[in-house]
């Protein structure tokens, strides 16, 4: 099947522009041909979802060739192939914007301009992650990462008047600002209200931008592991596994069986932890504090089992490059199975209080998202499955032992908050089922590889992806020659495109519905702002 796809690429783009490395298809394009190539990929070859747009600074990498590069990643949901389109660009050269073809490209291009200064035509040149008084483009190689800049005043609320004068007088501008229980201190929504309905809204992010990508260019591959753990801090194990898998795929090494099985156990327990706290936050924003504490109590049991394993409740870095750090202590497996049974009983209680509750159903059956819209806005993960699209990396491109265990993928119908809640509840049960299956048949043997040799890295790049708790967690990694530090690391975070569609979802809805929707999207700012 790969040969068939490769032939089709060569037929449409030419042999010079196409290559296949490390499981990724790569097409080289140019600013003049970009829109034509993306249209061919979307309409004729069925690459319907745009996953990521990022920039690369080639200054320290090669003398000849262009200064910058703009890299697009696309996904075909029928045959599960991914393609990378690279467009070289000089500084000040204009690249056409792809936001007319793919709605989701807007924020990605704004971020690429913010970080590098790559000039996309006709985008709103407002800072996305850094603040408004920032001078310079931080991810360029000649910007010192230790060079702070201060901000004097927050951005003001301003909406252009699009309606007549009488309507204008009845509109009010409010600020659902960073310090709000539902935005968790890191997101800002500016809304133009007409009574209780939101007519227009603008989003501001970047309050938690900790410069993860710039710091990682100065750290070795092992030193990046604590930074990666704190990206999606609700489910720390999944990020660590995604990063270690990216480096292992780049080096083309295979880890032992026992390490794969243990990584799956940690991944599924982290996924349960993430879904529980998402439901807890959603419930607390809507008003039920009892369910908040029930979910937190269930999550604490999982924290204790992690503490018995490695001593840390959050931010545990159990995976290392080449396997797992330490083997299981004595008696851990039986304690883990006890806690899994206990969490299953807690799920029955949470279910009884919420699922058939009339108030919960009326408060959450709002703001639905159709399947076509979800794919257009780049949704992945539980939010996409709640809209009815059957897409999960664990089933479609299985890695480790996911094709040997039995589990099901729950799907929703309408794509509203109630469906997202039901999908997350069922995914918790399926994850606990996977954990019991693996712990019954744990393979014996080594837990890590002995020597990792970084000297064999050539001029290769990789885009490696795993199923995170919110969706597809991807790492686009470019290694640097003669060194064990990365040259460029881009994280494809799953909640970035989901939060971008918030303006569209919430238009003409009530304010309290907007708060309920925000809770169900599970926007984690460590991942959103990096």
């Amino acid at each position: 099947m790969d040969n068939h796809i490769s032939d089709e690429f060569i037929k449409r783009f030419g042999d010079d522009n196409y290559s296949y490395e490390l499981g990724n298809h790569v097409v080289v394009s140019s600013p003049q041909n970009l829109i034509r190539d993306l249209t061919i990929l979307k309409n004729e070859m069925d690459f319907i979802m745009l996953l990521d747009v990022c920039g690369v600074d080639n200054q320290s990498r090669s003398e000849d060739g262009s200064r910058f590069e703009s890299v697009y990643h696309l996904l075909n949901m029928e045959n599960h192939h991914r393609v990378r389109v690279k467009v070289p660009a000089e500084s000040e050269q204009e690249i056409p914007t792809s936001s007319k073809l793919f709605n989701v490209a807007n924020w990605y291009e704004r971020e690429s301009w913010d970080m590098f200064g790559i000039n996309y035509q006709s985008i709103n040149k407002e800072r996305l992650l850094t603040h408004d008084d920032f001078i310079g483009h931080p991810l360029c190689k000649d910007y010192d990462y230790n060079n702070p800049q201060k901000l004097s005043q927050s951005r003001e609320i301003k909406f252009e008047s699009t309606s007549s004068n009488s309507e204008q007088n009845s509109r009010e501008w409010i600020n659902i600002g960073p310090l709000h229980p539902s935005t968790k201190g890191t997101m800002r929504i500016m809304a133009e209200m007409d009574g209780e309905r939101i007519r227009n809204s603008k989003l501001e992010i970047g309050y938690f931008h900790r410069c993860f990508e710039k710091i990682c260019e100065n750290r070795t591959y092992e030193q990046i592991i604590p930074y990666v753990d704190r990206l999606n801090y609700y489910s720390a194990g999944l990020n660590c596994i995604g990063w270690c898998k990216a480096v292992e795929d780049l080096l083309e090494v295979d880890i032992p069986d026992r390490a794969k099985a243990l990584r799956m156990v940690l991944a599924e327990l982290s996924r349960v932890s993430d879904h529980l706290i998402c439901i807890a936050n959603n419930a607390r924003d809507i008003g039920t504090t009892t369910n908040f504490w029930f979910c937190i109590e269930a999550r604490e049991k999982i924290n204790t089992i992690f503490e018995k394993l490695c001593g840390s409740r959050l931010g545990f870095s159990m995976s290392c490059i080449g396997g797992i750090n330490y083997d299981l202590p004595l008696g851990w497996i039986s304690k883990c199975l006890d806690i899994v049974n206990s969490v299953k009983k807690d799920m029955v209680e949470i279910d009884k209080l919420l699922t058939k509750n009339k108030i919960w159903m009326e408060r959450t059956q709002i703001c639905s998202m159709s399947a076509a819209d979800a794919i257009e806005w780049g949704y992945t993960g539980p939010c996409l499955r709640a809209s009815g699209v059957n897409y999960d990396i664990r089933k479609n491109r299985p890695y480790y032992f996911y094709d040997d265990v039995e589990f099901e993928i729950p799907l929703g119908i309408n794509g509203d908050c109630y469906d997202r809640y039901l999908v997350r509840m069922e995914e918790i049960r399926q994850s606990l089922k996977i954990v019991t299956q693996i712990l019954d048949y744990l393979p014996a043997g080594d837990i890590r590889l002995e020597n990792i040799d970084y000297s064999k890295i050539d001029n290769k790049e990789i885009y490696s992806f795993t199923e995170g708790a919110n969706g597809e967690l991807g790492f686009y990694l470019i290694p640097s020659k003669n060194s064990n530090k990365p040259y460029r690391l881009k994280l494809r975070s799953p909640c970035f495109p989901i939060y971008q569609s918030f303006n569209k979802v919430v238009k003409d809805q009530l304010l309290s519905d907007a708060i309920a929707t925000l809770g169900s999207m599970n926007v984690v700012s460590g991942e959103l702002d990096r």
Binding site: L151, G206, H209, C211, R313
Partner: protein, 180 residues
């Protein structure tokens, strides 16, 4: 009245006056009214949680029934600056967040205390970069630092207990020192 229960000396109160006597001996600040003031401030610290990052999860764990910071008087019923005494900052603070943090601190009413949880709030943590403030003491005056990445809920409770000791012993908050 001192009694022995299983060989351990305990105090048993007979009426309200004895409770007040014990308080005046225990707290070392001078003046009867000052003692009442310190006792009441220390035992009802209402919290404004400025939660941005990973340490917020450990703060939530410290409030759960098993660890129960509510028994120390710490409540977070309303998220309003005017109602609260203690500002708990947990998580990394970035340059974009500085005007917001300063505005919230200025809106709180006197007397007020500040507690910084975690290493990111105390000193920038492991993020030394162009957008992260290297410690919130560059923005607002801080009374108590709780180190850790993240600190366990027990460490957060110890931070609150240390703050209560300071208040009962009459040590003024840093805001009072700066503003007379």
């Amino acid at each position: 009245m001192v009694s022995k229960l299983d060989g351990v000396e305990t105090t048993v109160f007979q009426n309200e006056i004895e409770i007040l006597d014990d308080f005046m001996i225990a707290t070392e600040s001078k003046g009867f009214l000052n003692k009442i003031r310190s006792w009441s401030q220390a035992n009802s610290l209402w919290v404004l949680p400025f939660m941005t990052g990973c340490c917020s999860l450990e703060y939530i764990s410290a409030m759960r029934p098993k660890n129960n910071m509510n028994k120390l008087g710490v409540e977070d019923i309303g998220v309003s600056p005017r109602h609260s005494d203690l500002l708990i900052v947990s998580g990394t603070i970035t340059e974009k967040q500085v005007p917001v943090l300063r505005k919230v601190y200025d809106q709180m009413a006197f007397p007020k205390w500040v507690m910084a949880i975690g290493s990111c709030a105390s000193s920038g943590g492991m993020y030394r970069s162009y957008h992260v403030v290297q410690g919130i003491s560059r923005v607002i005056p801080v009374d108590i630092y709780v180190p850790g990445c993240p600190p366990t809920p027990e460490a957060i409770i110890e931070g609150v207990l240390k703050l209560k000791d300071r208040i009962k012993n009459g040590i003024t908050s840093v805001w009072e020192e700066n503003n007379g």
